[in-house]
């Protein structure tokens, strides 16, 4: 593999992995919002047969 091949491969892998880690870090470090709390009405009524 030549030097440009290494640059393309390492650049692509680093960019992809870094983006994924950053996104997951942002999601898991975000405080939960009050409106996310489920209520009885939110429990998938369409899934139930009458």
């Amino acid at each position: 593999m030549n030097i440009f091949g290494w640059i393309m491969m390492i650049g692509s892998i680093t960019a992809t992995t870094t983006l994924l880690i950053w996104c997951l870090w942002m999601i898991f470090n975000e405080p939960q919002r009050a409106e996310h709390i489920h209520s009885q009405l939110d429990i998938e009524p369409n899934d139930r047969e009458p």
């Binding site: 593999m1 091949g5 892998i13 992809t16 996104c23 899934d47 047969e49 009458p50």
Partner: protein, 544 residues
């Protein structure tokens, strides 16, 4: 304000919707199409791929997520309902009907590929099926060792019995039909369980399992020694075949079209899947970061897991002959012979086909949901009735596609028109509706509503001008390549499909099947529109 008839069905958690969208995106294209394209065009392919991802992929994903969540907050989950809500035009729901129809037509052949993955995984798991088949074939003289004493790949032979490509109806006389029905039943039992207990539950298990399987396959490939008969075919040489860039390829229009097409296939953009999934996101929940995370997860599976494992392994055991093989040719015809040669090949073969099955099932579930949403909110059907009706439609379609299996011509024609051409058309329509009917300003504020990250303002002109222009250019190039340019060297792909003599009757049957499915969804949409109009009229009269 228009309020849809849908209930308050929502995703159970934020990570659940991200995994579901990621699962919808991560499919066979990640593991079979992308590595093949990268090997074909080499490292330079990443440049148009990244440009298409930034200019089209990410902005279009934000469009679909925001339009979907907005419509979901008004009670609409199906593409016809969503289009009718955001674009006040009588034809809007019928355009949306295409976004419900296209995934179902794709499903009718995708379920076969999913069943092949399941059957191949079972073959590797259930003992020495592959070796026994090889010995039986050798004994009966179907395959003979070459000059070096190596037996040829049994992939094509096994594939012939699994796919029924030798004769029409042959899958019904082999075990292939059992795997087809099993895959079908798994899909519909999950869909019946609903968005949270079915789709989200499946993706929460399947996606981590898929990544674990892929990491084991990758670790095995990276630690392989070159075969004795070709010591120069090392992992490094295989990686070099893929990543060493040929800068002249950047002037190749075909590579740009393929890179753009790959971004669409891999992100499930344009054909209503994300639109429907996003409609189950709660109104105040973030979508910008969730969409970005789903894309990042998909790219990780594609660029890191698939690209590093598949082509180097294939190159080591099959040599440069593997370059240019993309999709089914790579996965089902070439790779079985790689696992045949590889130490621990049986385990790796099982893990590989099992991860393909997981990737396929998470994608096929997303193909069913737009139509289920249409049947429930448009026709007012309950879950059991909607699943039964859609099961009947899609099983009939899948059995027809499965029966006319000779040469896989029917699958090929349907994939060409619906899985390729229609995707470009729908994506172009989607971005135009978003930019010019829904409005980029309204769309942008919808993206930013509840957002955890700041989406740059430049996304507005990109969505309004750059993305539709880029899509139209790519679509014209695609038509030129498959039509006029291909015609110069013989009969082009488009003209080939309109040859109806001899075995060409399969072409007309395939086009007829697509047209019939289109009519079914137009009728369902017409009934839905009447119901929605009547309900809104009653609502207006009641408020007077």
């Amino acid at each position: 304000m228009t309020t849809g008839p849908g209930g308050k069905e929502h995703w159970g958690s934020r990570i659940g919707v991200i995994l579901a969208v990621m699962g919808s995106a991560v499919g066979l294209g990640n593991f079979l199409r992308f590595p093949g394209l990268l090997a074909k065009y080499e490292g330079a392919f990443m440049i148009p791929y990244i440009i298409a991802l930034l200019i089209l992929g990410l902005p279009l994903a934000w469009c679909e997520w925001s339009m979907g969540r907005y419509a979901g907050s008004q009670g609409f989950n199906s593409p016809p309902g969503i289009f009718r809500l955001v674009w006040k035009n009588r034809i809007a729901p019928y355009i949306g009907a295409l976004s419900a129809m296209v995934p179902i037509v794709i499903y009718c052949y995708y379920i076969h590929v999913e069943a092949w993955c399941l059957q191949f995984a079972w073959m590797y798991l259930s003992g020495d099926y592959i070796t026994q088949t090889q010995q039986q074939l050798q004994a009966s003289g179907v395959i003979t060792p070459d000059a070096a004493g190596q037996l040829p790949s049994i992939g094509p032979v096994v594939m012939e019995s699994v796919s029924g490509m030798s004769a029409d109806g042959s899958i019904f006389t082999s075990s292939a039909v059992l795997f087809l029905l099993l895959a079908f039943m798994i899909n519909f039992s999950l869909i019946y369980r609903g968005v949270v207990k079915g789709i989200e539950w499946c993706n929460r298990i399947a996606m981590p399992a898929l990544v674990v399987c892929a990491l084991i396959v990758l670790a095995r490939v990276m630690t392989l020694s070159p075969p004795e008969y070709a010591p120069e075919q090392t992992v490094m040489a295989g990686l070099g075949q893929m990543w060493n860039p040929d800068w002249k390829a950047l002037t190749n229009a075909e590579m740009w079209v393929d890179a753009t097409g790959q971004v669409f296939f891999t992100l499930s953009l344009g054909f209503g899947l994300i639109l429907t999934y996003a409609s189950y996101v709660r109104r105040n929940e973030d979508i910008a970061l969730s969409a970005t995370t789903a894309i990042a997860g998909n790219e990780f599976c594609e660029v890191v897991l698939a690209a590093l494992a598949i082509v180097p392994a294939a190159f080591m055991f099959l040599g440069p002959a593997i370059i240019g093989k993309v999709g089914l040719g790579l996965g089902f015809f070439a790779l079985p012979s790689v696992f045949q040669e590889m130490p621990m090949g049986r385990l790796i073969g099982f893990l590989f086909f099992f991860l393909l099955f997981l990737a396929a099932i998470t994608s096929s579930l997303s193909m069913l949901q737009p139509a289920i949403a249409l049947l429930e909110e448009g026709l007012g059907l309950k879950r059991k009735a909607s699943v039964t009706l859609l099961g009947f439609i899609s099983l009939t379609g899948a059995l027809l596609v499965g029966y006319f299996s000779k040469g896989l011509q029917v699958i090929d024609v349907i994939d060409f028109w619906v899985g390729n051409f229609m995707l470009f058309v729908l994506a172009t329509i989607m971005v135009i509706v978003y930019a010019w009917a829904f409005g980029v300003d309204k769309g942008y504020s919808e993206i930013m509503h509840g957002s955890s990250i700041r989406v740059p303002q430049i996304v507005k002109p990109i969505i309004k001008y750059v993305a539709p222009g880029y899509l139209l250019i790519v679509m014209c190039c695609w038509l030129y390549q498959n039509g006029i340019a291909a015609d110069e060297g013989g009969v082009g792909r488009i003209r080939q499909i309109f040859i109806f003599e001899g075995d060409g009757w399969r072409n007309s049957a395939s086009l007829g099947f697509i047209a019939f499915m289109g009519m079914v969804f137009m009728v369902l949409t017409a009934i839905s529109v009447r119901r929605w109009d009547r309900r809104e009229q009653l609502s207006r009269e009641a408020s007077r």
